[in-house]
Symmetry: C2
Subunit: 383 residues, 2 copies
């Protein structure tokens, strides 16, 4: 099979397309399938973007990023995590997606492998395949809070393995990894000459607990993050990756070629984001309210939440009590009840047909309406 | 050799770094090495960006692009080239760099080859290597205006060749390809089951002649373009690629994964660029004035310009009369005369050591000063 034929579409896109058809036909659809903040970008960022536009500098920044943003992020890591990171280790990328393209280009040779959790962020597999690498999907369940562990690495690590990816908090499960587990994974990767890649894009969106950066446990960990989620800046396409000193040169060479540089305006506006804590805290509180509502209502409807999600804006639910075919269930829910949620198959294969993901990146009113509709739908199925 | 070790840095970056050192030490350096417009982005684009910021939509566009921009570009192709392109064939990418990452991900399997001209845009080779493919660099000279030809394709095409790339106008030579040559190349690619990729990023920057799109000759040609050069919008990171209908689905799948989408603000502001013809025409006239000055002065100094460049903002000169080692010559010119130009080795291997590239993306005053300095430098060397 050619590489391009191994690149899977997001299955939720078909659902989304159908949802749009229904909306075009006059139906009101409740969107709990989308992983994009429903909030506008903080006002301080918009204001800074206006100022930057007026300054008239729309030229390329250095390939590795606007030095002022690199420095601002280094300061932020000191404040946020109490870790010291040299600014030149912080590479500014077009979204965290850009960071992954970059990393796999630098780390992988054709056929080399990367360990991933199943379920996990679906693009990971495709980033690796596009770089000619081999994703190894490791089934994970409630026993590890849906995360990799050193034991799982031990069982699946191969001679050609170059890295293991931890998404913390996890997409799709919203669960955080335990400190001990993260420490052990970092140590395992180091001892076997590989890299821990910690995807921290949902940091700052945690509830009742603080997510810890892999850099707090291992200063050689590779950390990916970005402004899309916590700062509601998806369309700005601005992320970063922190790499060990030894990788900077190789990364720079790849960045010069494939990006030239990340968007200039975004690279200036993002500096203002780092100070917009009131705005981000307001969003976080709103997400938490929605999360608690869903945690209170979903189990009684038959959606089992085995590990309480403490981060991101997702709830991963087992639907075995409701169906043995989650994709069909999702389609039916959309057609009959006008509620869009994502079937587990978008995130992997392991027990995918008995899981769905709810996103609460949509207003509480809509979520409440969605739950009523789901309830009515399930009742009508029973009768 | 690992793939990452095959990714060459831009050698001009070392030169640029040294130039910055000299500037930090108080020297004034004339920059004729950089391929980035020295003009600000047109005012109409800035104004539209302000409006878009106030509209508050910073969310993702569809992966293949903002439909309004796709439609505006389709209309622009009708006006500019008199060709009809369905908007959904126009895929919006993060710069034209993004377009090439996308194309090689879609077209290539590990080890498959792409035909390139040597000299040519250096990133091309690296895009192909990063996708696991094999760049075949074909020496070209004045006899084909530094472009590929159907005869050269015939000689170098292999069973595993999937595409040939024409950069028109060329970087680094500024020369345009003849209509007949382009037609013959398109026909050759088609007949051999491959793709013609026409890099048209310097369209609109031509002098006394109009560059023609490959789509005028073959509606199945793949065309890459972007807003960086003609519209002086480098930092906005916005380009596009026009693909045959049959490739749209595969491209969409890759775009969903590796980009999610191009920057939203840029995708709206760019629509205004397409109407800013007065601003782009003023820039074009300024470039032409600089070009004519250089064409008038360089040959007498010993820089031989074999084919008159009619496009882009580059002049590719043979320096055989001055040196047998262009890289050393460029370093010396920087150290002794404070003038930065790019050695030919950044663009390939073929006769690279006897060529240099002048960029005239810098003000006429600076260019005049640069030429005086070069003249003095050459005189001092002789005496």
């Amino acid at each position: 099979m050619r590489r391009i034929d191994q690149i899977e579409p997001f299955r939720v896109m078909q659902l989304l397309e159908r949802a749009k058809q229904l909306e075009a036909a006059g139906r009101r659809i409740i969107h709990m399938e989308i992983g994009e903040p429903d909030f506008p970008t903080p006002a301080a960022v918009i204001a800074e973007a206006h100022r930057q536009l007026d300054r008239g500098d729309n030229f390329y920044t250095p390939s590795t990023g606007n030095p002022a943003l690199q420095q601002a992020l280094a300061d932020w890591y000191a404040r946020e995590y109490n870790v010291s990171v040299a600014p030149e280790r912080i590479l500014i990328t077009p979204g965290s997606s850009g960071a992954f393209s970059l990393l796999y280009a630098v780390l992988l040779e054709a056929g080399e492998s990367v360990l991933l959790s199943d379920p996990g962020y679906p693009c990971q597999r495709n980033f690796i395949r596009l770089a000619g690498g081999c994703p190894i999907n490791i089934p994970v369940g409630p026993e590890t809070r849906y995360h990799l562990s050193a034991e799982l690495l031990e069982r699946h690590w191969r001679d050609d393995t170059r890295a293991a990816v931890v998404i913390n908090p996890s997409n799709p499960t919203g669960t955080l990894i335990c400190d001990d587990a993260l420490t052990a994974i970092a140590a395992y990767c180091r001892a076997h000459g590989g890299h821990l890649i910690s995807d921290e894009i949902y940091h700052g969106l945690t509830y009742g607990v603080r997510a810890r950066s892999a850099l707090e446990f291992d200063d050689q960990a590779i950390v990916v993050n970005g402004f899309s989620k916590r700062w509601a800046m998806t369309g700005w396409r601005i992320g970063w990756v922190i790499v060990p000193e030894a990788l900077i040169d190789a990364c720079r060479r790849v960045m010069q070629n494939i990006f030239i540089a990340a968007p200039t305006l975004s690279q200036y506006a993002a500096i203002a984001a780092l100070g917009a804590t009131e705005a981000t805290e307001a969003m976080r509180r709103a997400y938490d309210e929605r999360r608690r509502f869903l945690l209170d209502t979903l189990p009684a409807l038959g959606f089992d939440i085995v590990v309480e999600p403490q981060g991101a804006f997702y709830i991963y639910a087992n639907v075995r009590r409701l169906t043995d075919d989650a994709p069909s269930f999702c389609r039916e829910l959309l057609e009959c009840a006008g509620v869009a949620i994502t079937p587990g198959e978008d995130f992997g294969r392991y027990r995918a047909r008995e899981h769905v993901r709810f996103s609460y990146a949509t207003g509480l009113d809509d979520i409440q309406c969605g739950i009523s509709r789901i309830s009515a739908f399930l009742n009508s199925r029973e009768s």
